[in-house]
Symmetry: D2
Subunit: 435 residues, 4 copies
Amino acid sequence: MTPALPKPTSTLPDTRIYERRESTVRSYARAMPRQFARAEGVWMHDNRGGRYLDFLSGCSTLNYGHNHPVLKQALLDYIAADGIAHGLDLHTDAKADFLETLEALILKPRGLDYRAMFTGPTGTNAVEAAIKLARKVTGRELVIAFTNGFHGMTLGALACTGNASKRAGAGVPLSHVAHEPYDGYHGPDVDTAELLERRLADPSSGLDAPAAILVEIVQGEGGLNAASPEWLRRIAEIARRHGALLIVDDIQAGCGRTGDFFSFEGMGFTPDIVTLAKSLSGMGLPFALTLFRPELDQWSPGEHNGTFRGNNHAFVTATAALRHFWSDGAFRKDIARRGALLERRLAAIAAEQDLSTRGRGMMRGIDVGSGEVAATVTAACFARGLIIETSGAHDEIVKVLAPLVIDDAVLSAGLDILEESIRVALAASYGVAAE
Amino acid sequence: MTPALPKPTSTLPDTRIYERRESTVRSYARAMPRQFARAEGVWMHDNRGGRYLDFLSGCSTLNYGHNHPVLKQALLDYIAADGIAHGLDLHTDAKADFLETLEALILKPRGLDYRAMFTGPTGTNAVEAAIKLARKVTGRELVIAFTNGFHGMTLGALACTGNASKRAGAGVPLSHVAHEPYDGYHGPDVDTAELLERRLADPSSGLDAPAAILVEIVQGEGGLNAASPEWLRRIAEIARRHGALLIVDDIQAGCGRTGDFFSFEGMGFTPDIVTLAKSLSGMGLPFALTLFRPELDQWSPGEHNGTFRGNNHAFVTATAALRHFWSDGAFRKDIARRGALLERRLAAIAAEQDLSTRGRGMMRGIDVGSGEVAATVTAACFARGLIIETSGAHDEIVKVLAPLVIDDAVLSAGLDILEESIRVALAASYGVAAE
Amino acid sequence: MTPALPKPTSTLPDTRIYERRESTVRSYARAMPRQFARAEGVWMHDNRGGRYLDFLSGCSTLNYGHNHPVLKQALLDYIAADGIAHGLDLHTDAKADFLETLEALILKPRGLDYRAMFTGPTGTNAVEAAIKLARKVTGRELVIAFTNGFHGMTLGALACTGNASKRAGAGVPLSHVAHEPYDGYHGPDVDTAELLERRLADPSSGLDAPAAILVEIVQGEGGLNAASPEWLRRIAEIARRHGALLIVDDIQAGCGRTGDFFSFEGMGFTPDIVTLAKSLSGMGLPFALTLFRPELDQWSPGEHNGTFRGNNHAFVTATAALRHFWSDGAFRKDIARRGALLERRLAAIAAEQDLSTRGRGMMRGIDVGSGEVAATVTAACFARGLIIETSGAHDEIVKVLAPLVIDDAVLSAGLDILEESIRVALAASYGVAAE
Amino acid sequence: MTPALPKPTSTLPDTRIYERRESTVRSYARAMPRQFARAEGVWMHDNRGGRYLDFLSGCSTLNYGHNHPVLKQALLDYIAADGIAHGLDLHTDAKADFLETLEALILKPRGLDYRAMFTGPTGTNAVEAAIKLARKVTGRELVIAFTNGFHGMTLGALACTGNASKRAGAGVPLSHVAHEPYDGYHGPDVDTAELLERRLADPSSGLDAPAAILVEIVQGEGGLNAASPEWLRRIAEIARRHGALLIVDDIQAGCGRTGDFFSFEGMGFTPDIVTLAKSLSGMGLPFALTLFRPELDQWSPGEHNGTFRGNNHAFVTATAALRHFWSDGAFRKDIARRGALLERRLAAIAAEQDLSTRGRGMMRGIDVGSGEVAATVTAACFARGLIIETSGAHDEIVKVLAPLVIDDAVLSAGLDILEESIRVALAASYGVAAE
C-alpha cells in the first residue's frame, strides 16, 4: 500500500497575535510558519488542512509519535476519573505505578540499581539536580563537560553547555565547569580521553579535581557526534579513578533513540547518574527524571524541590509507554531495522554528494557543509511537507529525528524528500541549475 | 446544607516501592503518608477511601481546585481530538487562543502592555529567564533579592533564594545576588527601603549597580510576609532611579491568590518583568510564563529555549480558566469575601492564643512560635483530615492556602479543624492536657 | 623658636617622561605636580628647592616621618655590611631580630599570642592571606566586609573593598563577599550590629555562614569613620557566635596612628587575625604582615608564598622603629597630646564653618561637604606648601595624616594653613569674597 | 686561580623564635636550616661562618648576584642623601631616572613602545594589573593560561596558576580562567596551539571568547618547560585573531635569565602586555612593573593603586643595574657563554644517568624522575654547600638558577657538586652503594 504523503499548505497563517504578544525569543515558528492544530503518529496538521511528516519529533521528545492511541487513552481515562493531576511529591497511584513499571521493565532487566528523583519536569532541571548531587556527594565544585555538549538553559546547566550564543545569554560568567574535547574533536589521531587523563593526573595542570564528568553518548544539539564505546569506557574509568561521578545526560539520546532504552547500554560501563526527560512521558508531556546509584542518594528531604516535580499525567503516559514498547524486544528490533534503513539511505545520499554522515541508531544526520546550505535544505524539505531541523556548532548538520514508530515505507518516503531537497540545495549552492 | 467533612484513613499505605526506588529527597509524603488516587475541587481521596480537605492546594498551584470540571472537559476534548500535545515553540491553535485570551481578559483590562515568553514550564525556569533578560538588557550582573525570598532551585534562581538549607544544596557558591532586608525585616522602626536607597546611592557601599530588583509581593515560602504598598512603590522607584529592572515574582501570590489576578494590582506601580507559574494552567499542569515590557524584548530567536516551553495541554486549561474565572468581577468578589472570612477567623484564633497572623487575601497564616509547634499543628490537622503545611524561616507559620473556589461553609469547617488543632498543639506544648 | 615653614615652588616640573612612559593610572602627581628629590622628617623637597610640609605621610605609611635618622642609620649599616637583601623566606639575622623584637615589645606587653606570616610586602597581599586562611580554617567562603571599607586592589581583597570605581576595575564580578553597614551607616538610630546579628541568625536571610568578618577600626579611605568600641565588641561577639573569624585590617590605622600600636587596643576584644603593612617598616619600605592566633596556623609549608615575602631591609628598619618608638610609653603620650591638639583645632574649624569632624587619634579629618570643595581646599593647601589629601565615598573629607613625630608647633602651623585654605575655599564655594 | 669553594656549616641554628612566632607556611628554611647573615655575589654566609654557593638566586630574583657593589653603592648614596624612600606615586627624581633609563636602554633599542605601570611591588600584583587591564580593554572575562603555569598567589593571579596545592589554598573556586595545554604538553605529536585554535574557532566548544592569553616563555615553577618560538608565534597569532591580548609573564624568565632582557626577544612577535618583577630591581628589592602598548593605557587615574607602587629604593638600584649591565652587549655574551656551559654540563650529566634536561639560557634543569629523588639531590648539594632547589608538577626537576654574573669557574665548581650529588642520590635510589 502506498503510504500517505505530506500535503503542505502554501499560505502563511495570521501571525499578528504572536507579533503582538509573544517574545521574539520564539524560534521554530520562524522556519515553519504554520499554525498547527492537531497531530497523530508521524503527522502534524496545520489549521488550514495541510499535513506534514515530522522528522523532528520535538527534538526527540516524541519517539512514540504524536498522541499515540494507547498513551492517549490511558491519559483520557485517568483524567476522566479525576486522577490526581497535581500533588507536589505526595504518593499517588500514578507514581507508584510508574516506579514499579520502571523497576520491572527497565531497571531490573538491565541489572541497574538506581533511585529515581523527580525533578522539575524539564531536562535542564534534571541536569541541575544531577550536578548539585555530584557536588554535594564529592564535596568538589568542578564539572567536566565536553565541547559541543548541550545540557540546558538554567544557570547551572547552561554552564555545562558549549554553545557560545546560548552561553552569552547568561549575563554572568559561567563558572565551575571546564569543557574538554569530546571523542574525535581533534581528529582521528588525537585520543582526547588520553588528553583528559593526562591533565587530571597532573597536579599542576590547572584542572581542579572534578565532582563529575557529564557526557552525552550522542551529542544531539552538538552535531550528532557519537562517541565510541572505547572512548566512553575510558572516560568512565577516568571518572572512577579520579573520584568523579559519571553523569550520562540521556535526555535526547535515551528512550530508544539510539536503539535501546538507554543510549549507553551494552557499552561496558554503568553511569553513576543518568538524566532523562524529552520522550520519557511518551506523549510529549513535561517530565524529567534523575537516576542515581542508591549510595549517592544523600539528599535531605526537600533539599531540592519544585512545584511540578512528579507530573502525574506524565506518570500515566510514561507507564503506558513503558508497558507498550518495552515489555519485550519487538520495539528494539523495529528501531534496529529502521536505524539500518536510515543509515543506508543517508550513506547513499552522502556518497552521491560527497558529504559525511553522523550519529547512531535513529539519531542520524548528514553534514552539508554550512549552516546556510543546511537552512536551504530544511526549507526545501518544509516546502515539500517535511519537518526537519539542523544541529551542530554551525547548524551544518541536517538531522533526522523521525518518530521511532514510523512505518518503514513512510520513513523511506520522507528520506526521498530529504534526498531531493539536498540535491536541489547543493545544486543551488554551486550556482548550478538543478536538474 | 451541611458541607461534606473530611474522612481520613487511619492506616498507612504500602510504601515499599518508594523506599526502594524514590530518592530520599521526597518530602511532603513524609508528613502526609497516604497514597492518593483522585481529587476533585477541594477534596483529595486516598487509595483506601479516605477523604481530605486540601488547604495546601499544591502550594497555590490549584487555586481553582482539583480537576475543575470546566478545565477538565476542555482538556479531555482537546486530547480526544488529537490536539497538539508537544510542539516545541511552534505556533498552535492552543497557543494562539491562550495569547488572545491573556491579552483580552488580563492585560488589556489592566492597562498592561507585556510580551509573553514561554519558558520551560516550571517557576524556576521563569525566574531564570527573567534575571537573564534583566542582565542582558542592563549589561549588569547583580540582582537584588530579599531576605526570606524564595525563587527556585536551579542555580540562577537558587542564588536569589534566601533559605540556607536550599542554598547549601548548590554545591558551589551562589554569586551575583545580594539579599537586602524585606519590608519590616528589622521591625517597624527601620525603613528597609531607605536602607536600600542609601546603599545604592553611596558609591562606596560595596553594593554594585543592580540589573534587577526581584521581589515577591507576599513571600509565600518565606513566611507569608506581605509588603506594604508604600514600601513596594518605594522599591519600584528605587529600581527606576538606579537603572534596575523591577521583577515581581508572582508565581505563588499571583493568579488570584491575593485578590486579583496579579498580586501587585492597585498598588500604584507597574513591574518591568513578571513571572507566573503554579496556578497559571489552572489544573496543576506544568506551565510558566515570563512577562515583560515590549522594549525589554531583546532576545535573539532561541537565545533561551527549552524542550517543554509552551505546554499545549496547559494552554488549553489556562485559557479555559481565564475565561471561566476572569471574564468578569464575580471571582474577585468571592475571593474578597473568603479572604475576609479567613482573616477574621485567623485573627480570632490568634487573639485567643496570643499569636500573630500574616498575609493578605487568601494567602494567610498564623505564627505559632516555632517549627516544632507548627509541625504538631499540621499533624493534628492531618489526623483530622485537613491537608495543611507550614512556611517561614523556621517553618513556624501555619499557612492556609485553600483553593480560592472553596465553599464558604467548607472553608469554615476547615478552619474549625485548624482552630482545634492549634488549641491542642499549644496546650500540649505548654505541658497542659488539652480540653 | 619659630618652626620651619613650607616654601613651595611655583613652577611646574618637566613631566614629559611621565607622559611618554608612565601609565595614566598615576594619580597623586596630578594634584601635586612637582618632582620630589629628598625628604626628612615631616618635610619633602622638590627638585627646585621647594619645601613642603607632609600631612599625607604616604597615606599613613610614614608615621615616623621620612628617613628617620635612627632607622636610616640602621639600614645604611646593614647594607654596608652586605646584610642579606633578599632571601625568600630563609632564616636571616634580620628576620630573627624582627620576630624577637615584635614578640618582646609588641605582643607580650599586650598579652597577644600571635603567629606572624610574612606575605608579599603589600597590604593587599596581607589581606589576601588573611581571607584565604579564614576560608581554609572555617571551610566557608563568604567574607563579611563593611560599607566604605577599603582593603586592596588584588582580586580577593578588591572584592572586600566598597569603592565602586575601584571595583569596576576588576573586569569580572567580585564574589564571595557581602558588604554590611558599618557603625553609624544608617544614622544614630539604627544599630547596624543588630541588623547583622538578625541576618546571621535567620536561616532564610540569604546571607551564607561567613568565614570571616573583616573590619577596619577607623576606615581610612572610606572617610575616617571611627567605629565605637561598643559596636566593635558586638561585632567581635557576633563573629564568635556564628563561627566566623574576626579580621582587623590595621594597615592604615595601626602602627600608632590612632594612639597605640594597634587600633583595637583597650576595646575589650582580641581579633583572630590582624593585617599590618604601611608604617610597619617605619621607613616606607614595602612590608606586610598577617598575624593570627596559633590555633589558626594551619598552613602547609609554601601553601601561600611570594618572592618578596620577608623583605630584609624592612626587617631592619622595622626592628629599629619598634625599639626606638615602642620600648616605653613616651611615644604614646606624644601621640595622645598631638591627637588632642589636632582634635581641638579641627573642632574649632568645623564649628566656625558649620562642618563636622571625623576620626580618632592622629587620624582625623573634616567633612567639607563635597569632593569639589575638598579638592579646592587641598589645592589651596598645596599652593601654600602643605601636602594633604581627601578621603570618603565622595572624597569629601579633608584628612590630616601628619607624621606622628611632628613637632607640636609645626602641627599647629600646618593646621593654620588648613584653616585658612578651608576658609578661602568655602568662601569661594559660596560665591563670597574671602575676608 | 682556584675559585673559592663552598664551606657549609654542619650545625643547626637555634630556631626557637621561628617555631614560636613564624607561621608554619615558611618553606625554604626547612630544607636549608641555617640562619643567614650576609651575602655578596654568588655567596651566602650563615651566622656561624659557613659559606654557600647560591644556585637559587631567590628564584631568579638575584640575577646580578647579592649586593652587587655598583647597585649597593648607588643605594647607599641615595639613602645617605635622604632620597625619597616612599612617595606613593608622586613624581621623584628616582622614578624619572628609571623611566628614562628604561626607555633609552631597554625599550628603544628593541623597538618596543610600552607604557610602564608601577603596581604593588610583587609579581602577583603585576599579574593582577595585567589581567584587570586586559579584561577592561576587551570587555571580556576569560583569561587563557596554560598547564603548569605559575603567576602568583592573590586571587586573580592564583586563578591563572596551575598548581593544585596552591589553588586549594584559595578557599573559594577560582573562576574566569581556562588552562590550556602548553607547548609539548601532550607529547611531540600533538600541536597544542592547533588544539587551542580549534576550540576558539568553534562557537560550540564551551570556551568563551578570551580577554587575554597569559603565557610564560619558559615556565619557571612549572618545570622549566621552554616553548618553541614557532608555538609562541602561533599563540600570538591566535590571540590577535580572536581579539585577545597576549600577556607575557616575564617575572622569572625576564631580566636576562634566558639570554636577553626579555625572554621573548628575537622570536618574531611582540606581546601586548608584559609583567616584570623579581630581578628588576637588581638587588632583590620588591619591585614590579606592568608594561603595555600605549593604546591599551585606558586606566583612569588611581583605578588600580597600592601603597608601595613605585618603590624608590628599587628605582635607584634598577636604574644602576640597567646602566651597568644593559648599556652594551657584553652581559648578553657572558650569559650566552655561561648558558652554553650550563647546557653542556647538564647534558653530560643527563647522558650519563639516562635523564633529560629542560630549559633555555641560564634557566635550566634536569629531570631526575621524581620529587623524592630531587629532594635527595638538593639535600646532598646543600650538605656540600650548594643552595639549589626543585621545580615541576612533582618537584622532579632540579633547577639551576645561578646568578648570571657567576664566574665560569665557579659555575663549573657548582656543577661538579650537582653532578656528584645526582650520582649519589640516584645510586641510593637504586639501592646501590655509590662508588
